[in-house]
């Protein structure tokens, strides 16, 4: 019964609503006056006509094209046209008393602009001062802008020709127009036009508006309403279907217009209409108020003007309203009745519902508890339907899988991004699950963000046929395992490469671990004692380093010989902190030192050999020296004898034949004897030279003064009876061979004497100066000296700078001196300022620093 009542009431409602259209008037002839030539600017009206919206509304509309001189307002007010399209200038007319009413604002913004020639350089209104412009009579925005910018008095306003070429030829500097129109022209002619928009200067009015006269509203309100509605419908079509609209315009209205131009215009209008934000035709009373205020500010409208009655909304038909009101009340009453009936029905149902709800609540609570467990579990939990679709996933599962609940719930289980490889390796085993088995598998998955996860999945089929899976993230464990494995193999590789054995032994000598390389060489080790395993003995080594290492906690280093492998190792035993099976442990690094040991052995052998060689050499040397000694000894003796004989017999001959010999013969024999003498001296000197070279140097602390004094004493008379003045300075103690040093001074003094032979007074002075590390001795004479250019040659063997007939000598003396001094570690040199300017001979001896030399 209740349902039937409802049905009846509904039908009634529909019928009353359907009555409304019946109240409209029959087909009526209507004129619409456009304000300009046919173009997209009026598309909506074309559409409404073409698509039959007007016809549906019972209107027969005639669309009248406008032109340059069209006064749309006049047409409408006079009654020639019922409706007109015009700018907000209509509000000015209204203010003047014209009975016009705005029905709809088609363009929310005005496309009006003052077009200028770019070449003129005019960019702002103020730059129009002194210029000429043409304005259409209804371009109120531009006028408003000029007033606002205080330039209206400075501009010459000409009649609007509509010919934009006047801008190019300079007839005018500016012309009013729509951006929609002219920017197209602009692009066609290559941008010669610029424009100044009133919007830029605060003048933002509506664009084209649809309006009518007050009379028509009062007399034919339905017509107005119908026309308005159909027009707006037409506009909606026009803005949604530009393509079709363009077709209509070209075919029916102006086939001289290009599609391009119309499309361009359409796009420009789209911007002005904001069809996505504002309903086409919407008029905001507030906006109109603003427009009025702007005009009032500019002095174009009286301050007393009231806008009421200008807008369509002020005029909605009261009769129409009454009918509408009655219908509304009827509808309302019907609704109330319905409501009451419904309420009673509901009351019965509520009782039943409450019971059920209570029951449901209890269920919900227990579910919540379990849900809590699942939601916050540490493992991922996934519930799947029998068919394999995911019913439920907990937070952890989502986190592991890396996907949202929404992306998983309801999807087949393969939505989970397992890797191909892991699915091949461990496919989903529904078969096993159906048998009631618990299936555990390890799989990899790659999350949507690209990260890799390794998981363990444990799945079971529940009694109700659903599946339950528990996910566990093993990635970290896996990574750690891999790392350990890597480190371990690295470690073992290094050990192998360096032939270092690594082992771990506990305090009871049990081998815990041996590195694989070594183990391989030795054979298996488990359970063995270290001495058994490494040494092959049956008891611990006597010098076992393990106790010490454990005691001291320090790394113990020892050497071992590994019997089993016949090699030497250096063992580093390190006590570890851990315990294994309760026993303390050590780690050992066994570094192979076989090579080292071999080298050491070889080195020792080599040293021994070397020493032998040295000893042998030394004795050889000693022998050689001895041989040399006896050789030179023999030689000198054997050389001496014949020399002596030559001298002897020559002398005898000379004596025995004294009277027979003439001057020349005597001379000849003299020469023979002299030469022999010379040879004798040479032999002596050579003998001495060789001796001083080989003789063992026995250094002692000796007084240089003493030696020099002795030598000089020996030479006191210095060959002949001339006066000899000697000056001996303070000479230090030296550490040198006495005998050899004596020889040095003998030679030097001998020279000094020799080369001062011609002097009446021979002056010899001996000095010593102390340098940093050495003593410098010198002996100076006032003899014949020598050419300093040859000072480096003096000390050579057999080297002489003077003729032997003038100064006899073998040239060995100074060589001897040099030999002896250099053996003492000193240097020798001589200086002279030149021939006849004396000479000074120097030698150095290192200052004895103590210890053994």
């Amino acid at each position: 019964m209740l349902n039937r009542s409802i049905k009846y009431l509904l039908v009634l409602m529909i019928m009353t609503a359907g009555l409304q259209p019946v109240l409209s008037h029959p087909q009526k002839k209507v004129n619409l006056q456009l304000r300009w030539f046919h173009q997209y600017q009026f598309a909506g009206y074309y559409a409404a006509k073409k698509l039959g919206y007007y016809e549906e509304a019972g209107l027969d509309v005639n669309i009248i094209e406008g032109g340059i001189d069209t006064d749309v307002m006049k047409e409408v007010v006079s009654g020639s046209a019922h409706f007109g399209v015009q700018t907000p200038s209509i509000v000015l007319d209204r203010a003047k008393g014209e009975p016009v009413v705005a029905l709809a604002a088609i363009f929310q913004h005005s496309p009006v602009a003052l077009i200028v020639n770019k070449e003129s350089g005019i960019e702002t209104p103020s730059m129009l001062a002194g210029k000429r412009i043409m304005l259409g009579r209804k371009n109120v925005e531009i006028r408003a802008m000029l007033i606002s910018e205080s330039v209206i008095d400075k501009v010459e306003v000409l009649e609007f020709t509509g010919n934009y070429k006047d801008l190019i030829n300079g007839k005018v500097d500016g012309a009013s127009g729509y951006v929609t129109d002219v920017s197209y022209l602009d692009e066609q002619t290559g941008n010669t036009f610029g424009y100044i928009r009133p919007v830029t200067y605060g003048i933002d009015f509506y664009g084209d508006c649809l309006f009518t006269s007050e009379d028509l509203i009062h007399n034919e309100s339905e017509t107005v309403a119908a026309f308005r509605e159909a027009s707006l419908k037409g506009w909606r079509f026009a803005m949604d279907n530009p393509g079709k609209m363009i077709d209509i315009i070209i075919s029916d209205y102006k086939n001289s217009l290009s599609r391009e131009k119309l499309l361009y215009e359409y796009n420009q209008l789209l911007n002005l209409m904001h069809t996505d934000l504002v309903e086409i035709g919407h008029m905001n009373p507030g906006r109109w108020k603003h427009i009025v205020e702007t005009f009032q500010r500019l002095g174009q409208i009286d301050p007393d003007f009231r806008i009421k009655g200008f807008l369509y909304s002020d005029h909605i038909d009261p009769d129409h309203n009454t009918i509408k009101a009655v219908l509304s009340i009827l509808s309302a009453v019907l609704f109330i009745l319905l409501a009451v009936l419904w309420r009673n029905y509901r009351k019965e149902k509520l009782k039943e519902a409450l019971e059920e709800a209570k029951h449901k609540q209890e269920l919900k609570e227990s579910e919540a508890r379990f849900r809590g467990l699942i939601e916050f579990g540490a493992d991922g939990i996934l519930l799947g339907s029998h068919e394999g679709f995911i019913i439920e996933v907990n937070e952890m599962a989502c986190s592991i899988i890396g996907m949202n609940r929404n992306d998983l719930i309801g999807k087949y289980v393969t939505a989970i991004p397992f890797t191909e490889e892991s699915l091949q390796r461990a496919p989903l085993r529904f078969d096993l699950l159906k048998e009631g088995k618990i299936v555990i598998n390890e799989r990899d998955l790659i999350r949507p963000d690209g990260t890799f996860v390794n998981i363990e999945m444990k799945t079971k089929m529940m009694a109700d046929g659903t599946y339950q899976s528990i996910f566990r993230d093993l990635t970290e464990k896996k990574t750690a395992e891999k790392e350990i494995e890597f480190l371990k193999s690295r470690f073992e590789y290094v050990l192998g490469a360096t032939k270092t054995g690594f082992d771990i032994i506990d305090e009871d000598n049990n081998v815990i671990y041996v590195d694989p390389n070594w183990a391989e060489r030795l054979g298996g080790y488990s359970g063995k004692k270290c001495y058994e395993y490494f040494m092959g003995t049956d008891r611990p080594c006597t010098n076992c380093a393990i106790p010490e290492a454990l005691e001291t906690g320090k790394t113990t280093i020892s050497e071992e010989y590994l019997e089993k492998e016949s090699r030497y190792v250096e063992v580093h035993t390190i006590s570890l902190n851990e315990k294994i099976r309760g026993k303390r442990i050590v780690a050992e690094f066994n570094i192979d030192i076989t090579e080292r040991k071999n080298i050491e052995k070889r080195l020792r052998q080599f040293n021994a050999e070397l020493e032998n060689m040295v000893a042998e050499r030394t004795s050889q040397l000693a022998n050689t020296n001895k041989e040399l000694e006896s050789f030179s000894y023999s030689v000198s003796h054997d050389l001496r004898a014949p020399v002596r004989h030559i001298i002897g017999f020559t002398d005898i001959f000379m004596k025995e034949n004294e009277d027979m010999l003439n001057e020349r013969s005597r001379d000849t024999f003299s020469k023979i004897i002299q030469s022999a003498h010379r040879m004798e001296r040479l032999i002596d000197d050579l003998l001495q030279l060789s001796r001083t070279g080989r003789q063992e140097l026995i250094p002692k602390h000796i007084s240089m003064n003493k030696i020099v004094e002795n030598v000089i004493a020996e030479y006191k008379n210095c060959k002949g009876s001339r006066t000899v003045e000697t000056q001996i300075g303070q000479l230090p103690q030296v550490f040198a061979d006495q005998h050899l040093l004596t020889t040095v001074w003998e030679n030097l003094v001998d020279n000094a004497c020799k080369y001062t032979k011609g002097r009446t007074v021979t002056k010899i002075s001996v000095r010593c100066t102390e340098e940093k590390e050495e003593y410098v001795f010198s002996i100076k004479d006032n003899g014949v000296g020598f050419d300093p250019e040859f000072k480096n040659k003096l000390f050579g063997v057999f080297q002489r700078l003077h003729l032997s007939k003038d100064f006899p000598g073998t040239g060995v003396g100074l060589a001897n001196v040099r030999r002896i001094i250099s053996r003492h570690g000193g240097r020798t040199w001589a200086e002279s300022e030149g021939e006849d300017k004396g000479a000074e001979f120097f030698f150095t001896l290192p200052i004895y620093k103590g210890g053994t030399k």
């Binding site: 000894y633 000198s636 003796h637 001496r640 004898a641 014949p642 002596r644 004989h645 001298i647 002897g648 017999f649 002398d651 005898i652 003498h677 004798e680 001296r681 002596d684």
Partner: protein, 152 residues
């Protein structure tokens, strides 16, 4: 008076000649010459080819240190071992002024050591001095003399 004589043991013939010439001025006696150590020994010990030599021993022996067959020092040592012969003064004549040689000679029992001078004059002088000293000035060892008488 027995005729004094000097024994010269010298291997170099020239040196012999020179020495004899030199001695001539200083020593009027004879100079017996042998040319090597072996002969020297034989002469002194009156054996071998010299077994028939005169019983008197020389007043001085001038001995060259360096000789073939037997070194001067060797002879010296050998002679000094003999009771009779050890009393005979022996002068070592040598080219060497090597200290070691001098020591060695004295230790072996040389009465004097003369380095053969370089200058021939000095050589002569040295030889003359030796001849004069030992041959003229020096008083012989009476024991030796007596012995010789005994033997006769």
């Amino acid at each position: 008076m027995k005729s004094k004589y000097i024994l010269l043991i010298e291997d170099d013939q020239n040196d012999v000649e020179l020495t004899i010439r030199a001695l001539k001025d200083a020593f009027k006696g004879r100079v017996a010459v042998v040319n090597d150590g072996a002969d020297g020994i034989d002469f002194l010990f009156r054996r071998g080819k010299f077994s028939g030599r005169q019983p008197e021993n020389p007043v001085v022996v001038i001995l060259d240190k360096k000789m073939p067959k037997m070194d001067g020092v060797e002879l010296l040592s050998a002679v000094k071992k003999d009771e009779n012969l050890k009393k005979i003064p022996i002068v070592m004549f040598s080219s060497s002024n090597y200290e070691q040689d001098i020591i060695e000679s004295y230790e072996a029992g040389a009465s004097a050591y003369v380095v053969k001078p370089i200058e021939i004059e000095h050589y002569y002088k040295a030889v003359r001095q030796i001849g004069y000293f030992w041959g003229v000035l020096n008083e012989e060892n009476p024991a030796v003399m007596n012995q010789e008488v005994k033997e006769k």
